[in-house]
Amino acid sequence: MKSLNYEDLPDRVYRDAQRGDLTAQEAVVRHHQGPVRAWIAAHCPAGADADDIAQRTFLAALERIDMFEIGTRFRAWLFTIARYQVMTETSRLRRHADYHSRYAPELLAAELERRARESKSDEDLRVVHLRDCVEGLEDHLKQFVNWRYTDRIPLADMAERTGRSVPAIKKQLWLIRKTLQTCIDTKMTAQSGGIA
């Protein structure tokens, strides 16, 4: 099964990290940061800073790393902490009086929260599939993805570059996102053996 590089670190690294070895602790952060940050990016509430939550997750994990039982799955243990940090941030943001008018419709926020709470997997394979799906786009469509997410160019600038109107650019982005979503759904379904 395709994975986000889940080959765990040797037990001795975790033992060294428990003993306070900074090099070992850094290795732990480096090895697990990709999947943790991806999962948090997908599940954190609207208005939150995903990397901020990710950093708090690692700091909390390293602070109590001596509670981790050597020989068990570190990533699963780490994701429990990540889930807790996301829930904590969700509760904090919900206390803003105007949160739902400012950031996200209530039902959408509730659905994200449910997914974060119930997520059993300690990996988000969607990231792997999404990279493949983006790679599979035609070049001119991939360009829009780069402009929007890498270069963060305003829609008006995209319109100017392509000689199209802003509504046309919005339509294009909608179609690209829909295409990518269909691609991810297909790959996820295929991966789970065709069971919906």
Partner: protein, 457 residues
């Protein structure tokens, strides 16, 4: 419009941050009416988030995340002792270790607390030297083998390294563990360290230092291109330029050494000294000058940002605003261009200029097209350090020339921690900025009057 079409319209606006209140209400109604759509919207949102994550997931970003996380680990002796004691308690429970282990644990804790803990202290390459109390503007910190951090936040703890403030309206307030405070204001650059004795190497700029009493034999050492100062416990202001340094002492006493020839001068409260690289200039502490309440520019002297255009036929000399890239802390991905002209008041040993009730700023300049211009100034406490930054917007009409007269009471403080009224403070510098576009902003004349002079001309 079908519900699907309506969702498509509102959803894209939502993801692009363009959804207004009416659109948000419409989106909520659509989601309420269709549970499948709620699930679909959540899928789309997560995919959108992951696209952003993938775009930012590069080698440098990953490395920065790891380094930043490691630098944020708690470093205090108390937390280390707590973790050592915690581990040892669990070890005792598991192995039945008795009095020897407990004595060893207590001894380890005592040694750390006595500061003789080099055998037990975690090997830590990034000890905290200062905490950031407050900041504004474009500020970088370079430390730890050349790593640059440009999104510093208040309460960040940092090790030794170099701070650089790039903007006239910027400032940075740092606090050492012993509550010694250092404030940088405007374009300035400082390297600091503490290996048992604090050292501040000022490359350029304006600084205030409020130093707590230092241990005997370990004064704070301040180095500038032309001077060295030893500070035991005092408040002083330093303005460092490539060829000279002005050190004004407000409390206590400072020993200043002129680098060019090694001459020393003790500077006491309410005195100042100028240490220039040229040895033939006077190097003597003199009493602080009596402040004045009116000032006019000495252009081209005093320019701290912008380009001087010399006078030409039919046209006065002027400081042309030049570009500067700026990022607001809460919008790091949306940099904006500022066009800045800035000048400081005190040149050629002019006395400090105090702000009286009714004071006004008069500015004459040129602008190619109608545009809003930000006018601002930095204030210091009389006989004290950095006080704050104040600014005001004015819409300026284009034309051959403009002239504005702005009461200083119209300038608003940039932060609530600054004094609400600038009356009684002294002006350090002025700056003028046009945002986003080069509209040809240039300044020919700036003056501060106390409100009794006639305006115009």
């Amino acid at each position: 419009m079908t519900p699907h079409q309506e969702f498509e319209k509102h959803w894209t606006d939502y993801l692009e941050g363009e959804l207004d209140d009416a659109g948000m209400d419409a989106l909520k109604k659509l989601l309420e009416s269709d549970p499948d759509l709620q699930e679909r919207a959540a899928d789309y949102l997560q995919t959108h988030r992951l696209l952003g994550f993938i775009a930012d997931d590069h080698e440098l970003g990953r490395e920065l995340f790891v380094k930043d996380t490691m630098a944020s680990l708690p470093k205090s002796d108390e937390s280390f002792v707590a973790s050592v004691m915690g581990r040892r308690r669990r070890t005792e429970r598991r192995s039945g270790a008795g009095r020897f282990t407990r004595r060893l644990a207590a001894a380890a804790a005592a040694l750390v607390l006595l500061g003789v803990g080099f055998l037990f202290v975690k090997p830590d390459a990034h000890p905290t030297v200062v905490r950031v109390e407050s900041l504004h503007g474009k500020i970088h910190w370079t430390g730890n083998g050349g790593r640059v951090i440009d999104d510093i936040k208040p309460d960040t703890e940092l090790g030794g390294g170099t701070f650089e403030c790039f903007t006239s309206d910027g400032w940075l307030e740092l606090v050492f563990p012993d509550e010694t405070r250092v404030t940088l204001s405007g374009q300035s650059m400082l390297t600091l360290s503490d290996f048992g004795q604090k050292e501040l190497r000022i490359r350029r700029g304006a600084f205030s230092i409020k130093a707590r009493k230092q241990p005997p034999g370990k004064p704070i050492l301040v180095f500038t291109p032309s001077a060295k100062a030893e500070i035991l416990g005092t408040q002083l202001n330093i303005v460092a330029e490539p060829l000279s340094t002005r050190i004004a002492v407000n409390e206590g006493r400072v020993r200043v050494t002129r680098v060019a020839d090694g001459q020393t001068e003790d500077v006491t409260a309410d005195h100042y000294v100028v240490a220039a690289l040229e040895q033939h200039t006077a190097f003597k502490a003199v009493p602080r000058q009596k402040s004045v309440d009116a000032w006019r520019d000495s252009l081209p002297k005093g320019i701290t940002y912008g380009k001087w255009d010399p006078p030409a036929e039919g046209r006065a000399g002027s400081v042309r605003a030049t570009p500067m890239l700026h990022r607001e802390p809460d919008k790091p991905d949306k940099p904006m261009l500022l066009y800045v002209a800035a000048l400081k008041l005190s040149v050629d040993d002019q006395p400090p200029t105090v702000i009286r009730d009714g004071a006004r700023l008069r500015v004459r300049g040129r602008l190619r097209s109608d545009h809003a211009v930000v006018f601002g100034f930095t204030a210091t406490h009389a006989r004290g350090g950095f006080a704050g930054k104040y600014l005001v917007y004015r819409d300026i009409k284009a034309g051959d020339r403009f002239e504005v007269v702005i009461p200083l009471a119209d300038f608003k403080r940039k932060r609530e921690q600054f004094p609400e009224s600038s009356v009684g403070l002294e002006v350090y510098d002025f700056w003028m900025v046009s945002l986003h576009k080069d509209v040809g902003l240039s300044i020919e004349h700036v003056a501060l009057d106390n409100g009794t002079q006639k305006s115009g001309g």
